[in-house]
Symmetry: C2
Subunit: 324 residues, 2 copies
């Protein structure tokens, strides 16, 4: 919790929304706030007019490009995403502007999604689909997940929710974070843990330390029976190295929900990589998620308006909400 | 636990195996027991020679056909399956022969399989596969399973394992059995429970009472958003009624692992029914399952040999192992 400078209540606050379709429902804020809408091309011109910036288009990199320009800057930026890599730049990091994120909204949905992928791979469901389409009855043996081992990389609320769900399914689960603490291994344990894991799950924030961390060396450490899941950020993974690891049977399978370039283009070889499940960055997006993101912003706004400390304040040097 | 008549230990016991490929590994029994092998055509002729019958080919109905014939009958029949519907007949039910089943081996694997199907449907994985094959990036919203409701029909160890796994995933789960007791609803609650369930899971034994229980009337009671899973026996479901319920959008989806006729023929309309997942009776068959079935039989045999009471004794009138 960090205290924010309260706005001058004599005038209406200007809330600039970097918009996406559908736009946010601002509920109780309607009429209390002057709302301006920006798109990627108008953001730079409108940024000096804003007291608060809501990054609703969480796939855009426009903030990172526009921020270093001329003029005043918003005192608070909130992004409707867990990751902040798409908006951070040295000028924003060095500024007094408060940055908050959508911490909490995606935790349980993403944990369920990871469980769905793990179970689908263990029970060979992709092959079941292929055989169904071919109208072919072919019994196979599948795998039990109870008693297997997982290593979850990323010890924030998403990583911890994944850990909780996998443990509930009987999977022995180790969590790896930047700083070792009770229940969390430090980076020095990573190689040892992924070398004996049946499931390696990537749920880390994208930072200088984590960029490209899943590379050929690390896929080479994993067991031939291991499977890899990425629900963090595409840039955590060297995609060519993963494709090679799958083609060479260094590992048994993988599932990617995030990619270096999104949307994944139709020519990407990843669509057809063997034993790879490709999904379109949807792990946290359950029915009602946009409304929940909007409600979360309104709650934060009302704290900010009255000068109360905000939760979900991002450490701009580290690139995530620290602690806990 | 029911006490069995011990065999005459002066002579080797004749164990008749209704074989399947691969055959059972009898481990410690090797050499201690005279083993005869039968297939569907030779079973009737060999049955009078057997002290014990091991029904290793659990897909065969040969026992039901051969049992009423002439001559002495084995004092004990063990089937390497949870269900006994494929071997029971009035003559066997009326006899003194002890019948045991593979209770316990399949519980947790089947519970994981049901969780895999529930999560796959909630997260729209079948559509993800189709889109991946088409190299199409199409974001969708998916469903949370925590907070949804399931009704599991069948209160034996498999139904209870399913209940435990679904509850661990945050699903409010009601269990329905033949006899109401603590934690188990009786049949009189079934219609009310399936009418408000998001997930209806069929894991009941096949008996006169359960034959065809999932019919047009019951699919009509379910919510349009409900999904149905059958891991019990195919004959619990009126397949035409389910196909019609899916085609008419009475329910949102289904997954069948068992069918009225197995293997499902290539001409069956079920392969292409909308929003239906078809898998080839594999829910309980995880790596090592055959070895586990063999070990279980050896353990039961050693109890039987010394005259000790056996677990897993089937109530031949009811068609399952009662109690608990």
């Amino acid at each position: 919790m960090t205290s924010a400078t309260p706005p001058n209540l004599a005038e209406k606050t200007t809330l600039l929304v970097l918009d996406a379709d559908p736009p946010p429902r601002l509920g109780r804020l309607t009429g209390r706030v002057r709302v301006e809408h920006a798109d990627e091309s108008s953001l730079a011109a409108l940024l000096p007019t804003a007291d608060v910036l809501l990054v609703w288009d969480f796939a855009s990199h426009a903030v990172r490009r526009a921020w270093p320009g001329e003029g005043p800057r918003p005192r608070w930026v909130h992004t409707a995403s867990a990751g902040v890599d798409h908006l951070m730049c040295p000028e924003l990091a060095a500024s007094d502007t408060l940055v908050t994120n959508a911490r909490g909204v995606f935790d349980q949905p993403i944990a369920e999604y990871v469980a769905a992928l793990v179970l689908a791979m263990a029970k060979d469901l992709p092959r079941t689909w292929d055989l169904q389409r071919a109208r072919e009855w072919r019994h196979r043996e599948s795998q039990r997940i109870a008693g297997t081992r997982a290593c979850v990389v990323g010890s924030g609320p998403i990583g911890r929710a994944i850990e909780g769900t996998l443990k509930a399914l009987g999977i022995t689960t180790a969590l790896v974070g930047r700083t070792p603490r009770a229940g969390v291994h430090g980076p020095e344990d990573l190689d040892r843990l992924i070398a004996r894991a049946d499931w390696v799950v990537s749920a880390a924030p994208l930072t200088e330390d984590t960029y490209g961390m899943f590379d050929a060396r690390r896929f080479g450490l994993m067991q031939p029976s291991a499977r890899f899941v990425n629900v963090g950020r595409g840039q955590l993974v060297i995609e060519e190295a993963l494709a090679e690891a799958l083609a060479s049977r260094w590992i048994a399978g993988a599932a990617l929900d995030v990619f270096e370039h999104e949307p994944l283009g139709p020519d990407s070889p990843l669509w057809a990589a063997p034993d790879l499940i490709v999904s379109p960055h949807m792990s946290g997006d359950t029915v009602g998620w946009r409304d929940e993101l909007g409600r979360q912003f309104v709650e934060l706004y009302e704290l900010w308006e009255t000068g109360e400390p905000l939760p979900n304040v991002v450490d701009k040097q580290r690139g995530y909400v620290p602690g806990h």
